[in-house]
């Protein structure tokens, strides 16, 4: 049951990290005000709410800011505890979910970024190979976590689904713009099916950007990066 406490989310529609927070709030049916940052500027509210990192997403719940996407997801799960749990109930399953979510953020996502931002063609190719290797690990993890169900979390979307699924928009853009496959029916058949189920889910479909729209955004970002010094 959504509370009437004031809930705001500072973010931007293209950000996979912001999407994580939105999916979590949607799962719990929490109403929130979505405050979108403009590209290239940081609002006073953002700088005040996240002075350490100055990054989105920031959840502001009753004037108290929570930063870092996975910290936000766990916070949402803790606060709205009775509705649709996001983390599994068993401590070991929780540890596995947290482990792979950390892997995605610490190792896998930097490789995905590296495919576009690598300093040389060689570096970009190495990044691509790491991304593919990582997806193979996650395909295997899916088998163990899902136990035959549609999601990492089982019957419903859970923590690890959110952690990885939030990148599906960017995965598709990378595939389209690079004319290559990352999720592959031959190599990662479970993840291919999972991706379809994830994107169709009620808590996801309104916040997952369309691939074309995201690709336009990516092109715009790349053009900006070429003409300006790195931030």
């Amino acid at each position: 049951m959504a509370t009437t406490d004031d809930v705001k989310l500072i973010g931007a529609w293209p950000s996979p990290f912001v999407m994580r927070a939105r999916i979590a709030l949607n799962i719990k049916s929490v109403d929130y005000e979505f405050l979108q940052e403009q590209l290239g500027t940081k609002s006073d509210l953002l700088l005040k709410s996240n002075p350490v990192h100055k990054k989105i997403p920031v959840l502001i719940h009753g004037h108290k800011p929570v930063c870092e996407s996975l910290v936000i997801v766990q916070y949402v799960d803790d606060v709205w505890a009775s509705d649709q749990p996001i983390l599994p109930s068993d401590p070991y399953d929780r540890a596995i979910a947290r482990f792979w979510a950390a892997y995605i953020d610490d190792k896998w996502f930097p490789s995905l970024s590296g495919m576009a931002r690598g300093p040389t063609e060689e570096a970009k190719k190495a990044a691509y190979e790491q991304v593919v290797e990582g997806l193979a690990l996650l395909e295997d993890a899916f088998g163990k976590c899902s136990k035959g169900k549609p999601f990492f979390g089982g019957d419903r979307i859970g923590y690890l689904d959110i952690a990885l699924g939030s990148f599906l928009g960017w995965i598709r853009v990378t595939e389209k713009m690079g004319n290559l496959k990352l999720l592959d029916e031959a190599k990662t058949p479970h993840l291919v099916k999972w991706a379809e189920n994830f994107c169709a889910d009620a808590s996801v479909k309104d916040v997952m950007p369309e691939t074309d729209k995201l690709a336009e955004f990516a092109k715009m970002l790349m053009a900006k990066a070429k003409s300006a010094p790195p931030n």
Binding site: Y92, F99, A102
Partner: protein, 224 residues
């Protein structure tokens, strides 16, 4: 059935120490397996195939890796001496700061250790800026956990031992007591906790190791 707990660690791993502290604070018995990372045991490779690193906690045959993940697991499995607060907002803060330690503070301190000259001159203020955030967050509490140590204290704990050694090896003062009074006091209080005091690695051996790390990184290897 008694829990079977094993910890894979090295003598010097600051991440493994977090696990030792948490287990001892909860009064849990465990077996320690010391690894030589230049010759990793088949068991370690089996239990942590993704990273092949320590620490790994094995509970009744089931392995968990990544120190902060392990800490959460220990906290959720054994209720005594809770390390995380009950309030969701305070929990979120504890997790935020633990992540900050690992993603920002640690690297900025390492950067001071492994550089010299201009690079080091640039690294020092970055490390101090990160320490300043910690200083502000302490807000006059004895520990981040309040009266007793908790999750964030455990995540940050390595600084109480490693920072003075890095200062000794580099000759650079990072924690000025007058600029960082809260961190200075926190370090003393932290080191006074019996479980912490009992588990620091051998001092001289650690100094030699840190010295060695610095020398190895600074050894000429061509243009940079």
């Amino acid at each position: 059935m008694a829990d079977d707990l094993k910890v894979f660690r090295t003598w010097s791993s600051r991440f493994a120490l977090r696990i030792i502290w948490a287990l001892q604070l909860k009064g849990l018995e465990y077996e320690t397996i010391f690894e030589d990372l230049s010759q990793k045991s088949p068991l370690l490779l089996q239990y942590n195939p993704t990273y092949k690193k320590v620490p790994v906690l094995v509970h009744n045959g089931k392995p968990i890796s990544e120190s902060l993940v392990i800490l959460e697991y220990i906290e959720e499995t054994w209720n005594q001496n809770p390390l995380l607060p009950e309030d969701p907002y305070e929990r979120a803060k504890a997790r935020f700061w633990a992540k900050f330690v690992d993603e920002k503070l640690l690297q900025s301190v390492i950067d001071v250790l492994v550089t010299e000259g201009k690079k080091q001159e640039e690294a020092v203020p970055r490390a101090k800026e990160n320490l300043k955030y910690i200083e502000e967050e302490l807000k006059g509490n004895k520990f981040f956990g309040g009266a007793t140590i908790g999750f964030t204290d455990i995540a940050l704990g390595w600084t109480a031992y490693w920072l003075p050694i890095i200062e000794e090896v580099t000759g650079i003062k990072l924690i000025d007591a007058d600029k960082f009074p809260r961190i200075s006091e926190w370090m003393q209080n932290f080191c006074d906790v019996p479980v912490i005091k009992a588990n620091w690695p051998p001092y001289d051996k650690m100094v030699a190791k840190i010295q060695g790390t610095r020398e190895k990184c600074l050894a000429p290897k061509g243009t940079d």
